[in-house]
């Protein structure tokens, strides 16, 4: 069980200084409060979809809360889970891109290179999690809203695919800070916006190659599962299922 859950990859770097970023989400802590959703928007300059756009199914969320009602009143329960890019080791979205706009980098991030993207949208079709977001138009921020834009994150033009990056700018920043103080990046030094903001502290982010890291610890427990793991995409996001 856990053996199958530990992400193994043909591309696992031999150099063990290279981390493999992963995330674990404890659904037993999660309250579905959507703080992560807004945190992500604030951090990543994600354009706001107007009501008309939203009505066309064009809301842009890099992380969303899927919720399913189960049973009927009064014994009704609801299953909900935050769904973001699962950063698969064997990501179905990667090979289908004709221009290498998306590929797996050495740290196991499923990177999206906006400048290379020509907008075939094949990757989005082939993502079973539907976490890829397309820019249908050039984004707009009525003045002075653009003052809030995060300078560390590029603003994507229309016709380009985008998605959760595990806040790669924060990862970069964390590594540089560590470098400047010549130390290793400590567990918890780097937190994507969603993880940082989560009020119930239901999300853990870190290096999966480090068995001591919080994320490895969480990913190892019995409740740990992977979303649509049976598809063999080897996600690096682990869900700790609810249980009483």
């Amino acid at each position: 069980m856990s053996e199958q859950l530990v992400p193994v990859s043909e591309i696992q770097s031999t150099d063990d200084n290279v981390p493999r970023w992963g995330m674990a989400i404890d659904l037993d802590r999660c309250t579905g409060c959507e703080a992560c959703v807004v945190a992500c928007h604030v951090e990543n300059n994600i354009p706001v979809a107007t009501e008309d756009e939203a009505a066309m199914g064009r809301s842009s969320h890099w992380i969303r809360i899927d919720r399913y009602y189960e049973g009927t009143f009064p014994d009704i329960k609801v299953k909900y889970r935050p769904v973001l890019c699962q950063q698969c080791d064997d990501a179905p979205c990667e090979p289908v891109c004709p221009v290498y706009a998306t590929y797996q980098n050495a740290e196991g991030l499923n990177v999206q290179v906006y400048n290379r993207c020509v907008g075939t949208r094949y990757c989005a079709n082939n993502c079973p999690y539907q976490v890829r977001v397309f820019n249908w138009f050039d984004p707009e921020w009525p003045e002075p809203l653009e003052l809030q834009l995060n300078p560390d994150v590029s603003v994507r033009p229309g016709g380009v695919m985008e998605k959760c990056t595990f806040c790669v700018q924060r990862i970069q920043r964390g590594k540089l800070d560590a470098q400047a103080e010549d130390r290793k990046v400590g567990d918890g030094d780097i937190q994507p916006a969603c993880v940082q903001g989560c009020p119930a502290e239901a999300m853990a982010f870190g290096d999966l190659t480090d068995p001591e890291s919080k994320v490895s610890q969480w990913a190892g427990v019995g409740r740990s599962t992977q979303l649509l793991g049976e598809l063999g995409t080897k996600p690096k996001v682990f869900y700790l299922e609810k249980s009483d």
């Binding site: 043909e10 064997d90 179905p92 990667e94 090979p95 998306t102 797996q104």
Partner: protein, 167 residues
């Protein structure tokens, strides 16, 4: 110089070709013009061709060339996608196949253009295309001409004319 003889039917033309070649004229100096394909019995006026061979050759060249390009480029800029190996026949075989076929097609057309003589510069003069007669043209020298005219008329030529070289 050339001799031109016009025949009203295929059999006559065929007979003429045989007599002429029997008289020691090289078949390469004999040409038959018609508005539609004229089918002689095999052995009368065969035209050897290397089309198939060259087509295969060109197919192999283009196919393997493209494959080599893919191999080189993917090693040159190694990006991992979907956990696939950088180079695998599974992932690129289709392209290899398509470009092999492309090579074959281009080869065929190229050879066609060459062998049909459409590309050649030094071409013998040709009669205007007429759909009512088959024209046979033989290259010969002044002294042999008399004898050939006779042979052609005997083998049923309607008319025979002499054509001087353009040179």
């Amino acid at each position: 110089m050339y001799l031109r003889a016009e025949f009203s039917d295929v059999e006559a033309a065929a007979a003429a070709v045989q007599t002429v070649s029997g008289a020691g004229v090289d078949k390469r100096d004999v040409e038959v013009f018609s508005a539609r394909p004229v089918v002689f019995e095999p052995g009368i006026l065969d035209r050897p061709s290397r089309m198939s061979l060259l087509a295969v050759f060109s197919a192999v060249v283009v196919g393997s060339g493209s494959t080599a390009l893919m191999f080189y480029t993917q090693l040159d800029y190694p990006l991992i996608t979907g956990g696939m190996p950088l180079n695998s026949g599974w992932a690129t075989g289709v392209i290899t196949f398509e470009l092999t076929m492309l090579g074959a097609i281009l080869g065929t057309v190229g050879v066609f253009l060459w062998e049909s003589g459409l590309l050649r510069k030094n071409r013998s003069p040709a009669p205007a295309i007429r759909d009512d007669v088959i024209t046979m043209q033989v290259r010969c020298d002044q002294e042999g001409a008399e004898r050939l005219v006779r042979l052609l008329t005997d083998s049923g030529a309607i008319t025979t004319t002499r054509v001087e070289d353009a040179s």
